[in-house]
Amino acid sequence: MKRYSIFSLIGNALSGHDRWPLAWRSPEPKKQYDVVVIGGGGHGLATAYYLAKEHGIRNVAVLEKGWLGGGNTGRNTTIVRSNYHFEPNAHFYEFSLKLWESLSQALNFNVMYSPRGVLNLVHAPAEMDAALRRGNAMRLNGIDAKFLSRDEIAASIPNLDCSTGARFPILGGLLQPRGGTVRHDAVAWGYARAADALGVDIVQQCEVTGLRVENGTVTGVRTTRGDIVAGKVGIAVAGHSSKVAGMAGIRLPIESHVLQAMVSEPIKPVLDTVVTSGAVHFYVSQSDKGELVMGGDLDFYNSYAQRGNLPAIEAVVRACVSLFPSFGRLRLMRTWGGIMDMTMDGSPIIGKLPVKNLYMTGGWCYGGFKATPASGYVHAWTIAHDEPHPLNAKFTLERFAEGRTIDEKGAGPYPWAH
């Protein structure tokens, strides 16, 4: 891999930028790999990278049916945070946030991690109690959390309507200062480039159409570009986990739902924090291009369509203009949808599956992007050791049958309610 640096930038600038090498190869798939990772998004590419980097397993292929990062890696709202209450989630996402902090250096690729802070607004006394409790739990787990009063919020986010006459009056907010945003496409590209440099084959336009299972053990995959023998197979296809696991006859506690996001036209800097409100189901940040990136709730019906309908968009925009009246002057530029694996307890499934040598990382609900580095790290560990890493030991598929669900929201087994 040719390292990116100020010197390579100057050198290539002087030669007209026509000598940059391709960031990764596009090899024909081989007949056999030690590990096949299904899904060329952030999670699959990170899995392959950590398999090669941490475990020396380099005869690895990443199979992607479309193009790299064309699924949820390119459809999220780029937010990273670790402001969880329950211990399994808190430790897992905090590990992920620590990986984010040094990821640009580790990959020699600028993923533009921006610790601009993630602020959860509080609109009611009961919500205040819950936020303080969660903030204290975070601090006990070694995660940064700070409660801001309404006056502190009004001073730092002048566009936010903090008046007592607001439609949803703001009482305060829980801030995680190290939370923020990361350039989502760069995560896929950075992991792809670094994995490729370690010998991983990245194969795009190669859809897995079947899993070969013999005597309860997975032995390979069938693809649109031929059959491939595999020692182990990792599934990283969130949104379609049920479909791929189903190829091995495995049913999952997951429903697929569409979640929409949208951006306004680009404007000059107006918002330097990620602002969220659980009460009105809304979150917003400003991208480096100046667009306001917004999202809210699911469309609330099963979908694999990667597009949603207007009522969900209207709900997001309604929440936006009630919190930020001045944003009502903007026009929406673009909306899109991604397919979420909604699990029955709102937490992911990372680990071994009931077929030997078959593993998965999925079930991310709303929050897969921020988990990308940790998901790849522990998924790779689980594949290499055939047992979970301590950080994903609680995220098993068996937890549902064992009554050990990790239900952060307390919503019960209604996947669209998480």
């Binding site: 049920s242 099963n302 029955m344």
Partner: protein
């Protein structure tokens, strides 16, 4: 926008409805083995294609509907009152 054909009210805007989820899930007998209950509470087929599902017309006739909808396209293929055969 989903236009949901309510058997009693005709085609209506989706905002009048609440989603009730997979209509094929059946409650097991009280003495069924635990695995059957785990399956009932947690496991879903989650098909990529036509899905039998329940909708509640809360802002209309307050009736429950059985709807067959394609999860790839959102096209509604058929609907009926719960428990009656689907009409297209």
């Amino acid at each position: 926008m989903l236009l949901i054909p309510c058997p009693w009210c005709g085609p209506r805007n989706q905002v009048e409805f609440t989603y009730g989820g997979d209509a094929t899930v059946r409650r097991p007998a009280p003495d069924a083995p635990e695995a059957a209950w785990v399956d009932y509470v947690y496991m879903r087929d989650n098909p990529c294609g036509p899905l039998d599902e329940l909708w509640f017309h809360g802002a209309g006739c307050r009736g429950w509907l059985h709807v067959l909808r394609d999860t790839r396209t959102h096209d509604i293929l058929a609907s009926a009152p719960v428990g009656e055969p689907l009409s297209r």
